[in-house]
């Protein structure tokens, strides 16, 4: 609830390195994550900045905000390890019917990182590619629905 009242990191990142756009078919929520990638002292790639834009319910906005807090400053390798359970745990729990919101947040992150790999022409790990394809399927359906608005 506190997260919903004062969500962190909402807005856009201009010239983001990666953008993840995902949606849930059933409830119609849409979440966009923007990431900016940098390097840490060890030379590993990290998520330097992250912002979200979300059309959705309380849980969707809260999970969006939480995932930005969770991954900010993390290496991409670690960011990809974040699961929906991490999101739920950090929120202090979610009602069962809202679990899909945490999935949405994780999916958005995966998509943003995938987008970054693609844009910077880096080799895409096979499991990331697989996850991306699954997410993409449901996204197509959602995008069609929102076509009119997105214009």
């Amino acid at each position: 609830m506190a997260t919903f009242k004062n969500p962190h990191n909402y807005g856009k990142i201009k010239n983001a390195d990666g953008i993840g756009k995902v949606g849930n078919i059933v409830c119609g929520d849409v979440m966009w994550l923007y990431i900016k990638v940098g390097k840490n002292k060890q030379g590993e790639e990290i998520i330097k900045d992250i912002k979200f834009e979300t059309f959705g319910c309380v849980a969707a906005i809260s999970t969006s905000s939480i995932i930005t807090d969770l991954v900010k400053g993390k290496t991409i390798k670690d960011a990809l390890k974040i699961t929906k359970d991490n999101v739920i745990e950090s929120l202090g729990g979610l009602p069962k019917i809202k679990y899909h919101c945490s999935v949405l947040a994780v999916d958005a992150l995966i998509e943003a990182i995938y987008d970054y790999f693609k844009k910077s022409k880096k080799p895409i790990p096979s499991d990331l590619q697989k996850k991306h394809e699954i997410i993409q399927k449901s996204k197509d359906i959602i995008e069609k629905r929102y076509e009119k608005w997105a214009k």
């Binding site: 979300t54 959705g56 849980a59």
Partner: protein, 394 residues
């Protein structure tokens, strides 16, 4: 922060006058209406006096009023009871024949789900469409009626969008065809004058907790002559149509509640319409806002909107943080993810139906409260849109 309740369509607080009327029936006059001794007689008298109150108000006979525990139960009894009785009659004549039931596409779930269940039992169900205001066209009722039709059920006024249906016209059509007409008047009872004779209503549902009575009481008016079976079998209470020890305190409260509503109806209706219209006028000034339901033919206490690029639940929760309690008929409520069937039936797209807000006013609503809502709503809508990937003003 003083809390503001604007969800009277969901439920209402019990009026103090109702509370007072109920009190003696809790520990003092607690008898079972079926008992022969004086305790029982005392309770029975209170029950029958209450029954007469309702009969007088809707122009019925007292033995045509059956008390139940809720509008949901009344609606279940109306549909399943009539269906069951018709099956008996039908099977005597033609064994395989199952009846046909017509409902509207904006009914409360207790009608829609009962119909769905009957469909699984072999009954044929037709759901009538509504126009963009949520109105059922009486012509559609006429056209949907077949030789197998046993019952038409169309609500009096929509709980979600407030539209008042042309039930007198529908009643007339049903009467002409010799088909039972049921109406769920949960939202209109005590707010609009109902005359079951003039409106040709065969069965009518009403609820106590929507009109400042206690929860746990409802009624079904059943015109004498209507063939109906009980769904709660038991000790023969309520003319054998509803087994269960009668909830006398709640029914006494329900009767007191309707008496008050009836007395204050004209004045209260005028007061609430004025507040409602002020609210609608102000809210529609917000960019990308729309009214749900009919602009004129609507309940005096209902204002329903949808906002472009806004998700209803976020709106409700942000209003709640401001101390204002409203509701959304929309998805992503705690129990359902899909958008409101009612709003979809009026032609809204799923993403549009997601952005709905229902404000329902009542006896204790003041102009100051409406002004507060008018003041905070634009900022909340703006904030939600800022967080959304769509609908930025740029």
């Amino acid at each position: 922060m003083k809390k503001i309740y604007l969800d009277y369509a969901a439920t209402t607080p019990v009026d103090k006058r109702v509370e007072k009327a109920m009190e003696p029936f809790l520990s003092e006059k607690f008898g079972n209406t079926m008992s022969l001794h004086s305790f029982g007689q005392e309770a029975k008298l209170a029950l029958e006096n209450s029954r007469q109150v309702f009969a007088d108000i809707i122009n019925a006979k007292s033995n045509e009023i059956i008390f139940t525990s809720s509008a949901t139960e009344s609606n279940n009894l109306a549909l399943k009871g009539v269906a069951s009785a018709s099956r008996k009659a039908a099977s005597a004549k033609a064994p395989a024949s199952q009846g046909h039931i017509i409902i509207s596409s904006i009914e409360h779930p207790c009608i829609a789900e009962s119909a769905k269940w009957l469909k699984r039992q072999g009954f044929e169900i037709t759901k009538l469409p509504v126009d963009k205001y949520g109105l059922v066209n009486p012509k559609d009722v006429k056209n949907a009626i077949t030789s197998k039709t046993i019952l038409v059920s169309v609500m009096h006024a929509s709980n979600e969008i407030g539209t008042i249906e042309p039930i007198a016209e529908i009643g007339k059509i049903c009467k002409g065809k010799g088909i039972y007409f049921h109406t769920d008047a949960s939202q209109s009872f005590g707010k609009i004058t109902i005359d079951v004779k003039k409106m040709n209503i065969d069965l009518l549902t009403a609820s106590s907790h929507k009109i400042y009575g206690p929860k746990g009481a409802g009624l079904l008016y059943i015109r004498s002559g209507v063939k109906i079976d009980p769904i709660l079998h038991g000790g023969g209470q309520e003319n054998g149509l509803r087994g269960s020890t009668v909830n006398v305190p709640a029914i006494v409260g329900f009767a007191k509640a309707v008496e008050i509503c009836q007395k204050e109806m004209a004045r209260e209706g005028a007061r609430l319409s004025k507040l409602r219209d002020k609210l609608i006028k102000s809210v529609l000034k917000i960019k990308g806002s729309h009214l749900n339901g009919h602009p004129k033919v609507r309940l005096a206490n209902n204002a329903s909107f949808w906002f472009e690029f806004v998700e209803g639940e976020s709106l409700i929760m942000r209003l709640d943080l401001e101390g204002i309690a409203c509701s959304t008929g929309s998805a992503c409520s705690s129990f359902k993810l899909e958008p409101s069937e009612v709003l979809l039936a009026t032609g809204l797209k799923p993403q549009e139906a997601h952005g709905s807000l229902r404000v329902s006013l009542g006896r204790f609503t003041t102009e100051k409260e409406i002004d507060k809502l008018i003041k905070v709503l634009p900022g909340i809508v703006k904030k939600i849109r800022e967080m959304s990937p769509y609908g930025k003003e740029n």
